[in-house]
Structure formats: C-alpha cells, structure tokens
Symmetry: D2
Subunit: 424 residues, 4 copies
Amino acid sequence: MRITKDQLASFSPNNFHFRSLELLRERFSNQHIDFEKVIRKIQEFQIAIPSAALGNGRASKKKSRTGGEPRDLSEKLEDIGLLQQLTCKTNSVSIYIPYDIPEDFGQVKDLANELNLEFDTMNSTSSQDQNQKEYAKLGSLGNPKKAIRDEAIAHNEEVINIGKKLGSKGLTVWMADGSNYPGQSKFRSTLGWTEESLREIYEYMPSDWDLMLEYKPYEPNCYHTVVPDWGTSSMLAKRLGERAKVLVDLGHHLPKTNIEQIVATLMYQNLLAGFHFNDSKYGDDELNAGSIKPYQLFLIFCELISGDEDGAQTWDSISWMIDASYNTQDPLVDLIQALESISIAYTKALLVDRKKLQEFQQNGEGSQAQEILQMAYLTDVRPLVCEARVRAGGAAEPLEAYRILMIRNKLVHERGRKSHNSIF
Amino acid sequence: MRITKDQLASFSPNNFHFRSLELLRERFSNQHIDFEKVIRKIQEFQIAIPSAALGNGRASKKKSRTGGEPRDLSEKLEDIGLLQQLTCKTNSVSIYIPYDIPEDFGQVKDLANELNLEFDTMNSTSSQDQNQKEYAKLGSLGNPKKAIRDEAIAHNEEVINIGKKLGSKGLTVWMADGSNYPGQSKFRSTLGWTEESLREIYEYMPSDWDLMLEYKPYEPNCYHTVVPDWGTSSMLAKRLGERAKVLVDLGHHLPKTNIEQIVATLMYQNLLAGFHFNDSKYGDDELNAGSIKPYQLFLIFCELISGDEDGAQTWDSISWMIDASYNTQDPLVDLIQALESISIAYTKALLVDRKKLQEFQQNGEGSQAQEILQMAYLTDVRPLVCEARVRAGGAAEPLEAYRILMIRNKLVHERGRKSHNSIF
Amino acid sequence: MRITKDQLASFSPNNFHFRSLELLRERFSNQHIDFEKVIRKIQEFQIAIPSAALGNGRASKKKSRTGGEPRDLSEKLEDIGLLQQLTCKTNSVSIYIPYDIPEDFGQVKDLANELNLEFDTMNSTSSQDQNQKEYAKLGSLGNPKKAIRDEAIAHNEEVINIGKKLGSKGLTVWMADGSNYPGQSKFRSTLGWTEESLREIYEYMPSDWDLMLEYKPYEPNCYHTVVPDWGTSSMLAKRLGERAKVLVDLGHHLPKTNIEQIVATLMYQNLLAGFHFNDSKYGDDELNAGSIKPYQLFLIFCELISGDEDGAQTWDSISWMIDASYNTQDPLVDLIQALESISIAYTKALLVDRKKLQEFQQNGEGSQAQEILQMAYLTDVRPLVCEARVRAGGAAEPLEAYRILMIRNKLVHERGRKSHNSIF
Amino acid sequence: MRITKDQLASFSPNNFHFRSLELLRERFSNQHIDFEKVIRKIQEFQIAIPSAALGNGRASKKKSRTGGEPRDLSEKLEDIGLLQQLTCKTNSVSIYIPYDIPEDFGQVKDLANELNLEFDTMNSTSSQDQNQKEYAKLGSLGNPKKAIRDEAIAHNEEVINIGKKLGSKGLTVWMADGSNYPGQSKFRSTLGWTEESLREIYEYMPSDWDLMLEYKPYEPNCYHTVVPDWGTSSMLAKRLGERAKVLVDLGHHLPKTNIEQIVATLMYQNLLAGFHFNDSKYGDDELNAGSIKPYQLFLIFCELISGDEDGAQTWDSISWMIDASYNTQDPLVDLIQALESISIAYTKALLVDRKKLQEFQQNGEGSQAQEILQMAYLTDVRPLVCEARVRAGGAAEPLEAYRILMIRNKLVHERGRKSHNSIF
C-alpha cells in the first residue's frame, strides 16, 4: 500500500506547533543559531532500515506475530516506503543476504526507484553455514579449516556481486565467530585466518566500496568472540587498507563502556564507518534506540557533530542504520519511534552552544560544561523535528497518522495475519 | 543401551591411583580428616539431570546435532542411566513439562526403577503459552489478565499432578515473565498477581512437596523481569509459607555478584532450596559448571558445608541439579565433565581446615584465612573423587570409558543421526 | 552571608518565562492536569543536604579546593541556608557524626531556626574506629569481637542522643563492614552479629524514630560487604521491626541493576526508607544526580508517584537526601545543579498520563506505554520548576543568581581560600 | 635485616616433598615433559616488586599499619631482598617517582648490587601536580594548557634521568587523566595533546629504553579516562614507534572482559609490554594475584607460553610486576602469597599438553580442549614450584619460614611500630 499525498496533507501541524516553534526560535536567538540550517540538517539526516527489521522478532526470542509482515523483498521495500512517506527520515534499505536475494533485480530496482529508496551497505551472514555444523564449532572467516573459510569468503563475494547489481557501495561484515570453551580456539591463529579472509574480501570489493567491520563482545558465543571490541576491529581495518573502517553497534559493548568516547577516538583516526542504532539495559538487547539511555545517544551525537565541525571526519563519510529486534510489538511502530528518538537526540546536539562549551573545556570547568549540555538536552525539540518533517512532505505526527490511517490493519488485510518471512 | 558390569570393571584404577591416594591421605593426616568419611560424602552427593539436557542445544542458539539424541522420555532415562553407571553421581531426573509428559506412567516408572533413578523436582514452563502471544507480552503467572494467569496456574497444577504420579516431591517455578519497554509493565501490580498465582499453586501442592522459586535478572526480557533477584524470590517465598524456598541458578546473576555470600545469606534464613549448576563469563551462558570460575564453585561449597556443619540448614534439605545448555558438543561428554567438576569442587571444600579457618576468621586474619582455603583448593583431589566412584561401581575415568566403549557411536547407530527431541 | 530579599527579587522571571509556562499549560490541557497542584507538589518536595557535602571532595580522591568552604557546622548551615534562599528546594540538613558534633546545641538550633532549616536523619560512621585497626579488619557492628561491636553500638547510641537534642527523627546506618580475602569473614556469623547490634540500636531509638538501613555491594571492601543489596537490607529491617526500612543510594548497585524496580518492590512492602541521590557511570561514582542517567531518575520518580497514588506507601513516609562527592568543582554549584535535576525528573514524572498508561499496561502495549512516558519526558518542564521556585521566593535562575551575586567570592573573602573542614 | 644461609637451609623440603615430586614426574611421563627444563623456567621467571608496595595500604583506603614498614628506599630494597632470599622469585624493584627519588645514587646502587636486585622499569606519576588543582581538573599530559602539559612532560623526563642513573631500561606511563562531567573534556583534543606529550617523552628516552603505556577504564575519574582500554593504548603506542608497547594491569578492565584474549591479540602484534599482576572482584580492587580468579590467571599464562613458543613475541620482551594494594595485612606476607600464586599459574600452564590441544583446536573439539586444560590446571604443582625455589637457594615454604623467623617482629623492632613512608 501507499499513502496518498492528500492523506499526508491531512496530518499537517496545528497552530500550537507554530507557536511552539517560535518560542524555540526565540529561546535560541542569543546563541545565533540559524534555525533554517538546523531544519535542513535534520532533513538531510537519513537512516537506513535493514531488510530484516520489518518482520516480527527473531526465532531466538519469544515472539508474537503482528500480522501483515512483508512476505518478500518487494513488500519490505513497500514498508520502508511507508516509513519514508510518514517520517521522511529513511531513504534507503540495507539488505541481508542470503535472506533477501532479489529474484528479479530489474523489478526490485524499479520499485526502489519508484519509492525513492537507495540500497545502503550490504550485510553478509556468518552465523549459518550450509550444514550448520562447522560454523557453530569454530566459525566462518576464521575457521581453522581452509575449505570452510573459503566457503565463507565466497559467500561474502556473492553478497558483493548482488550489491553491485543493486547499486550498493559498501559491505558490513559481522562475524558470529568465537568459542564456548576455554582452549577451544587458538586466539592468534583464528585472528590471523580472519585477517587473511577479510583481505580477500577487501580486495574483491570494487574500488569505490567500503568495508565496515562490526565488533561484539559476546553472543552467540559465550567465552570468546574473534572481533570483540573496537580495538580489534580497528587493528584489522588498518591492516586491510583505507576503505576498511569500524562499525559501532550501540548494543555491542561490555557493561559501563563509554561509547561516546569510542566514537570520538574512531573519528580521531578517521576510522568510523557508521552506526547500528539500538538501545540496551543488559546486553545486546536490541531495544529501540533512545528507549533506555537517551542521554547517551545525545552525547554520541555531540561527538559526531564536534568531529564533523572540526574536520576530523566528515558527516557524509558515516553510515547510519537502525538495528533492533522488535520482538513483541508492531515493527513499523517501533521503527517510527526509533527514527523519532534518533532525530531528537541529533537535534538536541545541534543546539549545543559549542563555542561556550569549548571555553569551559579549555579551563576544565566541569559544572559549567555540563550546564551547557543540559541547556540543549532539556529543550523540547519536537517542534523542530516536526517542522523539518512537515516541510519535507511527511506527517506532523507519524505515529498518529499511522494509527488513524489504520495501516497495520490494511497490511494484514492485504498480506494475511500469519504472513511472514520466516528466516529471522 | 546399557553398559555391562564387566565392561565397567575393565575401567578400574591402576597402581598409580592408589599411590596418589596414599600420598593424599598422608598429606592430610595432621588435619585429622577421616578419609573414609570424605569418600562416603562424595558418594552420597548425587546431582539430578534435567530431562531437557540430553539433546543438543536450544533452538535459540546455533547448534550442531551430535546425533543419537534421545527421542523420548524413555531414551532420556536411558542416557541418565548410562551417566549413572559411569559416574555414580546422578541418581535422578528432573522432568520439564510439557516437553516430557509420560505417555505410560507405569512403563516410565518401571524403567526408572530398573535404572535406579528417582524423579527429582518437576519443572513447569512459563515461557510458552498456547497461542504464544499473551505470555510474550506481559507474562504468565503475573499477567494482568486473569484468564491468562488462570491458564498458567492450571499448567503448574498439571505439572504437580504428573509429578505426584511419578513420585516427585517438589516443583521448581521459573517465570520468564517481564517486559521490554519502560512503562510496559506495572511493577507492583505484576508482583501482586504473581504472588497470588504462586499462592494458588503452593496451596495446590501436596503437603510433603516443596516449592522452589528461581530468580533471574534478565533474559528473555530486556528491561524488567518479575523475579529478578534472590531478594524478590525470598520475599515471595516467605509470604507463601515454610515449604517455599529460593533456588539459586549460578548463571542468573548480575555482573560481579558475590554468589557464595547469597548462598550463606539464604542458609542463614533456612531458605535455600537448591542449585542449578552451570557457569558463565558474560550472562546466562549456561556453560559447564566449573569451566570458567572453578574457584567460585569451590567457595560456594565452602559455604554449603559450613552452613550444614553449623546446623543453619541441613545438607539433605538442598536440591542439586545441572542446568547448562551444551550447545555444540556431545551432551553426555559435557554432563560427565560437569559432574566431575562439581564433585572436585565439593571434595576440595571438604578438605578445608575449618577449625584453623575459624580461628583466623575470629581475628580477621585475611592472609592466613586465604592460605587455608588455598591449601585445600590447590590440592589435586581427583584420586579421592575417583576412589569414591570406583568403590560405588563406576568407571575410574568415565570420559575415557565413554570413548573406549564408543557409546555415542552406538547411540547414533541405535537412534539415528538426525534423531532429536525437537522441543528445546 | 545571607542573600537579601531585594537581591532575590532582582532575579525574577521575564516575559519569556510566562509565555513558555502558558504554552506548557495549553499542551497539557487535554490531560486535565491541575497545574496549580503540580506547582504545589514541586514546592513541597524538599531534599536534605548532608553536612559533609559543603566542602570539597574526599581525601580519597584528588581534590582541588574551591576556597571559602565552611569551617564548622554553623557555616555549613549558612551554606544550606543560601541554597534554600536560591532554590527553595532544601529545608533540612543531615548531620554526620563524629564530624559535625555541635559544640553548643542551643546556638546551632537557633541558627537552624533562623534559617528555616530542620535536622533530617542522623548519620553514624562505621568506617573509622578509634584505633582504625579493628574496623578495617572485620568491621564494626558485625565484628567478631564483642568489645568492638559494643564500641560501634555505643557510637550509634551517641548519634541518637545528639539527634534527639537536635530534633531529628531518624538514624541512617551504613556499614563499611566487609572483607577483602575469601575466607576472611564468616558470612553467617557476621550477619548474625550485625543483626544483634542493629537490634540493640533499634531498641535504643526513641519510639518516634525510624532506622534507615543502607546497602552497598562493594567499596571500601573488595571481596564482601555485610549488607550488599536490598535483599539483605530488607531481611534485617523486617527482623528489627516496623520502624526499620531500606535506604536506596542510587550509586550502590551492581552494573545493570533495575533500580526503579527495586523502588517499586520496596514500596510493595511499605519498606522504602528514602533516597540518597547521586549518579554514576562506573561504580559508586557519586556524580551529580541526573548527570549521567537522567531517564533512569525519571523512571524512579514514576514508580514513586505511582506507589504514592496507589496507597502502597505514602510520599511523606519517604526521606530524601543528596549524597554526592563534588570533588573538583564548587560544591554549591554542584548542589544547585543536583537540586534542579531532581526537581526536573520529579516534575516530568508528575506529567505522565497515568490513566492512559494503565490502560496500555493492562494490555501489555509496550510501544504505546513507552510513548506515554516519552511524551512527559521530552517535555521541557523548566518553566514549571522555575514558577514553583519563584512563587516560593527563590531565584528564577539560581545558578545565574549565584554567579551574579558572586557568592563564592564572598565566601572566600569571609572564610579564606584554604579554609575547609578536613574530615572527609 | 638479612636472613642467613644457615637459616634458609633449615627450611629445606622433607621426604614427602620428594615423593610428591616423583609422582608428579611419573604422571607427566607420557607427555614427554622435561621436568628439569620446567624447573629451570620456573626459576628464570622473575617478577619485579614496586617500591610502593612495601608499606601498608593507600591513603584512599582504610588502613591499619602493620608496623616495621620501610622508612626509605634503602629499607624498601632490604625488604625486597628478604623476599628474594625466601622465594627466589623477585630480582628487581620498580621505582615510583617522586616517592622514591634516591638521595645518594651510589649508595642505593651499591645496596641493590649487594642484594642482587636490578632496577626494573621506572614509574612516573600523573595524578599529583605541584598545586594539585590543575591535574585534577583536566589532567597532566593531555591538559588543555600547554604549561601544565610541559610540567608533566618535564616530570617524566626527570624520571627518565633518574632511571638512567639507576640502570633502568624502561618507563611505565599511567595517566590518571580524565574527567567527571559529560562535556568537561574535549575527547579528541585531549587525545591529541596526550599523543604529542607522549611523543616528546618517547623521543627523550634513550634508544635502548621501552615505553610501556598503561590503560584503565575508570578511577580516579568517574566519567572518562583518556587512555581507557588496550585499543587506545595500542593506537598511541603504534603512533609513537616500535619501542612503545601496551602494559596490561589485570585490574584495569571493564566487567567481563576476556583478558587472556587481549594478551593474545597484543602478542599477535608484538605489542605486549608487560603485566601488573593483581586480582579483583569488583573494580580495580588490587587484591592479591590469583586470590579471586586463579583460573583466569592460568589461562593468561597459557596464552603467554603459546605466544612465546610460536614466536609471536618472545618471553624476554615482556615485563612482569606485582601491583596490588595490600591494605589491611602484612604486605610481605601478601607479596609472598602473590609470588607463589603467579608461579603456580605459570607452572600449570607449562604442563598443558600443547600438542594435543592444538589437534583439538584444529577441529573445534571444545570439550576435549577444555579437558586438556583441566588436566594441567587440576594438577597440584606446588612440589615443582618448591623444588625450583629450593634449588635456587630459597626456603621450601617461604611463609612458614617468614613466620618462624619472626621477620615482621624484627622489622618492627628495628624500624618502629608507626614507621611508614607516608606517600601512598
């Protein structure tokens, strides 16, 4: 289904919105902030949706089907198209292979074109080999057996081939590789094999592609993961070459990690590939971005903007994607909430009085530096985010529109209650 | 399959074993330890095997089938019978319902009798309701909807009924209940409904049964779990009555928790129901007991023995079960290793010079208290554990026997390569 | 020094404030929220300042003196008086003994009266005995040696005596007791002695006093702490009697603990004594409340308001205190920021649409429940907090007033640059 | 004081020791282990003692003086001399500046010579500047103010100058630098200044010196530390040059970190500088090495031996030091225990059947790999460690000898009960 322009137009902001926006503008007038520029930045900030996110949950978690889930890649694109119409925050899809191999490339590309969607970085899958037994024991790209490694390399090359046809410009590699028993894996050998395999993949990539290397401390393995932290990820990336960088998934950190500092440290080296947005309280919970630690998300955007402004690493060189599991609720609702939360955090960070902040930082004035951050964080920026969305053609209140338009009902009607793509 | 007495007899200890044992006896002679009593205690310490542990892995984790897994409850009992023949450390099975509902109670009880196995505490299942949708949203025994709670209560009552027929004397309740979004669950109401439901179950139990209440901080829920810690579990247990106690699963704790202290605090109140043995590095990893933190396991047994000796809570009032997931290797091998690790930790704790320790404790002599513990912990007690097993009729080296007898091969031959009970 | 009424009056809100407030009122009009009642609640919510918080840092951390710190209890009261004039959020002081034993009770009480300050709960100190050696080894109230325990009990009784003279109505007990080596302390015995000692103190307390029992998982001890968690604290409180309850210090939890749930669980049992407000990223960091995890602080207030509204435990029965270390910056600035952060979290929680929330909770509608919370949390409530403060006679912007009035400079001038109370 | 050769000779092993050793040799005969070589390796493995470790505790923790603490550097050397006589495990001292600046270099070097002690790596101090105020705010080598950075660089250069006179060959840099408030420090700038300062120090170092860069996630700062993890430390080390490497302090990791993997990853890059040995349950507890997680210590040595054998990084290129706080007990007793624990972990790792292990690793046989490790770990290697010590001229049982010789009493008699070097 599609939403018509008329339908969208009916969800325009009311007078209250404009008065709120004016008050906001007035509040920041002494900070000499160009509101039009802020609105433009909010509009330009687009976040990819993974093709795996449109269905309900993962097999590993208890799930309750919402119904109306997309049954194939085309329907997934349509869902993202709906999100884009409502929110104007997502103009691309990130494909997981082998789950979403297009049957007809032409048709898929035409549909994407029609929906104004691009193909973001491709994702390979290292957690499932054909006979399942080998990967589970000692991994894919770092498996001690060359034949298994070659199989895993070939899989990544296939993903690149598919991505080339779709117009993607990057490959995200996340390896589930690791071990469960002390002694099971020889750490240095595994690392060496992984480096070799990654090099083959890196060299196979077209010269205008980037390799984004993800890290994760644990899960699915319980004792050791081959690429557990940003240090390992960046060591490998540097050994591969300039087009290899480090991808930060917010949920993939040990307890208490200062993630905003990692972001700054990667930008210091021009080594930040991009983000997988989600949130977590305990582990890799894959909860909605901003639903548990919204202040941390704000602090991360403060580092991103600061790094961009200082020329450490350009904003455009960074890739953005949502990666959360949505296991018991309507995935489209969760995605709308996530896009909104991320936009809010970004907007607040744009409002930080960076000039004053730097003065306080120069003198170590902690209380005052904190006050500057709080000034921005405590501000209700929803009018700004709304204004950016409405001007771009979206709905004033996307969740309200989603409900009033009864989109889920229509999708269930169209696709059936038990429909789903059963892969994840 | 069964192992014959002759086969077992062929795995008797060699001369080296007896010399090692003598040296051990000599080393502890000045501590006035009665070695015969120690050997008897090791023999008497029996650990239940859950009916869910004999197959490979859980659906939630990547798995590789070993082959030859038991296809029904009878074959599970047979597997435990094999473990018991080899190790003499496990004389009972703990049944999970609805996964292992006996079709023919008489036949199952006869088989158990024949294998000298008893039926330990029963386990109900709160993570899967019939239509899957309701439990996933807001839980089972604490669900806001009375009809769902009643369904969950009825399930537990059915488990009790089955357990009565089998001769079990206890029910372990673990609730997956919880929530994923802040605000989703009303904490106090959920706790109240849970208490009410548990009371119904408690009152339904025969008067010679115990209720063992498990706790877990997170997973499968990512924001809140209804019974997350021993404090909540003990509050509920005390409100139910004397026959309700707290079950400690070693993997169910927040990072850095001092578990041995929790054990002592529960014994202080005569409130320790029993254990689920496993080990973990990151979360509820369900790795083999003693495979990551063997010293912690030793310290736990030190508390258990101390509590028993002081009369805080009797050894016999405590229930013991293995609970680990065994996801990529032969489950029988892992179980033999776990039984051995637990026995070793227990035996070392039996050798602690408790008299001297108390003197040092009285004066806060930390270095010296630690030295006393290290004296016992650093001792190689395998000869003692082996002696206890051999005298009881087991194999000197169970893993060696398991491999030489090619038990897995025979099970695969008997049951097939792809056999498995697909429930978990 | 004191601030004059005229001075305060010069820091009144501008026209922008009133327009912001009106817009806020309009926004919440459909929620039928009585703004006057909200403002009254904000005004009534008063937070005690510990007498130990007015100087710089603790000896244990690197520190840099701000200068002008209070040199005795009277000057501490004066500092709190200044805070109260500026913020109208703190009407009481919580005294630490032996650090702030009044020399002249009459004079101190007169001064407090004059400043409209009351004496909140008293704090004893368990971390330092007279010869320092014994407490460090095996603790105070739980020390194996009766003479040491008696000394510690006597100290607490002295604190009660002092508190009686000051008009305090409660005693907070936090024990640094614990051990550093496995084996050093006999857990159950230590717990038993601690219970006995607490009983003596409990019985010594006047019948209108409350005992608030704090818990902390680690530090200063590195292996075991006698009262490490709310479970132990509540077990002891229940054994003592109705007037013993559990105090929650936000920094005293293991990583990942769901503190808002603990608050709810304590209110479920009418067992919540009160709070020590602070924030932390790593351990017991004693950072400013709301400076790291402001959303958690909001969720805690949501539970508090819900528990009060449902009649689980009355708001008035709960005690509130700031407890943070302020180690490198001006302590008065940090305290003003903390009072503001706490007020903001509380005000946001007051704006939650509790009626709708309960409907969604009843159906487990996680996304929608979350949306309800976000609606309130994202609101900029500073106009409300400001309005409440101004109406009560405080400054519109306390930090701005503090700086314009050059209060620190004046304190340095009055008391000297190197002045400080050297105890902490 | 010194121990005479006769005194030491009186603590020779008894007949039981030799029988135990023989049984051990027999047990490992089929593994073709050269016991003489193992004993030689144990003897060659020497661990430095920090000059700061001989007194009691740190000011930051509650302390109880043991008495007889060394009053100056000479007496510290004498204490280490005693340790070396008893244990034969420590042939060097690691000096902290400014705490232990020699007054008379010739005398100190003569004394060290006489005691057969060398001067291991030097330690600078970044946590205390002259006026205390600046470092506390925004650090030393990464301070925003050039004058402060220059002061800190000059301090390190002074340490190098002192070290040159003493014959040291390395400098360990640990920076307490960081911040307590979000926003207080500009991460990338601070990192840049730190890199610049380190480069100056690196270039000042003699060409045969190494720079060892320590990392620590938190403490004394509570929000951000400039060099928080091995990734940052190795990035800086690589930018400095070949003689800069990463120092691993076992206590300086976030919860759940797989430290043995970090060791392997550093060796993979020939980037491991050395170790600070200690143990911890909660944070940087500075407990005795092996007192909490002895199995982890064993796994670390397994990686070290494996890396050395494979030629990844030579054993000799790695530096070893104890770094623990010893806050309530006799520091010499704690040091003897630590040296023993480390030796035991190393010896067990030497006994691992590495050939079989590699076979199992090649096939991902987790259970069997674990069994190989357990075979070595469960072995009581104390006879081997004792034999190595006795042959080198040490006491069979150092702690027993220490007590029988009443060394502490004699030190108290010699130096006084209240003696101590009050710096730490």
